[in-house]
Symmetry: C3
Subunit: 177 residues, 3 copies
C-alpha cells in the first residue's frame, strides 16, 4: 500500500504562541489513525491566524512535501482574524463547494451557529485541501461526513491509492472508475 | 441592555417610487419586535434596484450609523434588475455562504423556485448584513432559520450583546464562548 | 405554444474525439421529450474539455442561437481537465448557487462522492445555463430536482413560456406572478 503524506495545519494565534495545547491537530491525527489502513506520515504546521502564513504552510505542504491531503483546523468563522478560507481560496486551482455545504449541513444538526463557518475545500496540484472547524468534536463530525469521498477525489487528481478501515469509514469509488 | 441599531434596506423600484407600500420592510420590523428583548432602533432605507444605490445604503448604515445588523429585502432573483447580492458582496469583507444555503434549503420546503434566490450574507466591519427574500411570508421563514446564529455572530465581530425572547426565538452561544 | 430552443453541450475529450458515444447528450434530449409540451429544437454541441471551447459553445448558443436553456454535461469534477464550471462562470452575468447546492444534495442520496461535483448554473442575457453531471442516471436525478424552477426562471429573464407535462414534472410559478 502507498504511504500517504498528510498535512495538518492548525491556524491559531494562541496555539502557535504556545498559550494552549493544540487539541484539534491531535484530534485529526487520531481520526486518521482510525480511518486509514495505509501507512501514513503527518506533516504538522501550527501558524498564527495570518493569511500569508497559512498560504505559505499550504503551499509548502502541497508543492514541496507532496501531501496528498492537507487538512486545516481553525480560522473559519466571521471574526476579523479568521482567514483560513481566504488563504485556501488563494492557493487552490479549483474550489469544491460541496465540502463546505455538507460540513455546514451536518454541523447544523448539532448547533445553529454552524452557518457562521466559512469552511471550504479545494485542489492545489495533486493535493486536496479541506478546512475543518476548530473544535475536536466538530472536526470528527465533519470528517465522518466528507471522508467517504476523499479517496476517490485523490484518485482523480493523480494522488496515491487510499484504503480505509471499512469498519470505521467506507470510501466510495464509482463502479467502472 | 445594549440598544441595537438595525438597518433595513428595501431594494425595490416600485416601492422606492411610491407605487406600492413596502410590506416587506414592515414585516422585518414586526419580526424584530417579537424577537428582541433589547431596545432597538430601526434605520430604514428604500432604494431602487440599482447596485450603486444599494451599496451606498449598506455602507452608510454600517459605517456611519453603526448598525450591528443590516437586513435587506428584495432584488435577489435572476432578473436583470436583481442586484442586491452583487451590492452585498461588493461591500462585505467576508461572505458567509451558510446563510444563503440554509435560507434556500428552508424555502425549498415551501416552493421549488427557492433555488432561484441568490441571497447571501456577510460582514462589513462590525456589521452583519443579511439578504432576505422580497415576500413577507418568506422573510419570516428565513429569519426564523438563521436568527439563532445572529447574536453570537455579532458577538464575534465586536458588536452589542443581543438578548432574544426565548419563547419566540432561541439565540445560541457555544459554551465557554 | 412557443417553440423552445435548447442548447446541449457535452464536454468530453473522448466523446468529442469519437472514441465513445455521447449517451449523456441523448439522456438530456429524452428527458426534454418527456418534460415539455412545447415544441422544441435541440442545438447540440460536443466539445473537448477545454475552457475556451466550452465558453465559445455557450456564448454561441445563448447569443446567436437564442437558446432559452442551455444544459451542459461533463467536466464538473476535481480533475485538471474538468473545467465546465469555470467556463460557465466566465460567460454568466449572474450565478445561481441554489442549483448546484440542490443537485449536490440530491446526488448525495445516491453517492457520497456527490460533493466532488462543482456543477453550477447561471444567467447569460436571456438564457439559463445549467451544468449537469456526466452520467445519464445522475443527469435525470438532477433535472428532476431543479426543473420545477426552470420555467419561472426563464419567465423572469424574458424568455419563452414553457409548459411541462405535469404528469412527469410540475413547473412552479408563484401566485400573482
Amino acid at each position: 500500500m502507498d504511504t500517504i503524506r498528510i498535512g495538518v495545519v492548525t491556524a491559531s494565534d494562541r496555539a502557535s504562541a504556545g498559550i494552549y495545547e493544540d487539541l484539534s491537530g491531535k484530534a485529526i491525527v487520531e481520526t486518521m489513525e482510525e480511518y486509514l489502513l495505509n501507512p501514513f506520515e503527518i506533516l504538522y504546521r501550527c501558524v498564527p491566524d495570518e493569511q500569508e502564513r497559512i498560504e505559505e504552510a499550504l503551499k509548502e505542504l502541497c508543492d514541496r512535501e507532496g501531501a496528498a491531503l492537507v487538512v486545516t483546523t481553525g480560522g473559519t468563522g466571521p471574526a476579523p482574524r479568521d482567514v483560513t478560507p481566504e488563504a485556501t481560496e488563494a492557493v487552490c486551482d479549483k474550489i469544491l463547494p460541496g465540502f463546505g455545504e455538507l460540513m455546514r449541513a451536518v454541523s447544523l444538526n448539532y448547533v445553529p451557529t454552524a452557518i457562521l463557518s466559512r469552511q471550504t475545500a479545494g485542489i492545489r496540484g495533486k493535493s486536496l485541501i479541506i478546512n475543518l472547524p476548530g473544535k475536536p468534536k466538530s472536526i470528527r463530525e465533519c470528517l465522518d461526513a466528507v471522508f467517504p469521498a476523499v479517496p476517490y477525489c485523490i484518485d482523480l487528481i493523480g494522488g496515491p491509492y487510499i484504503v480505509t478501515n471499512e469498519e470505521v469509514i467506507r470510501a466510495f469509488r464509482p463502479k467502472g472508475s
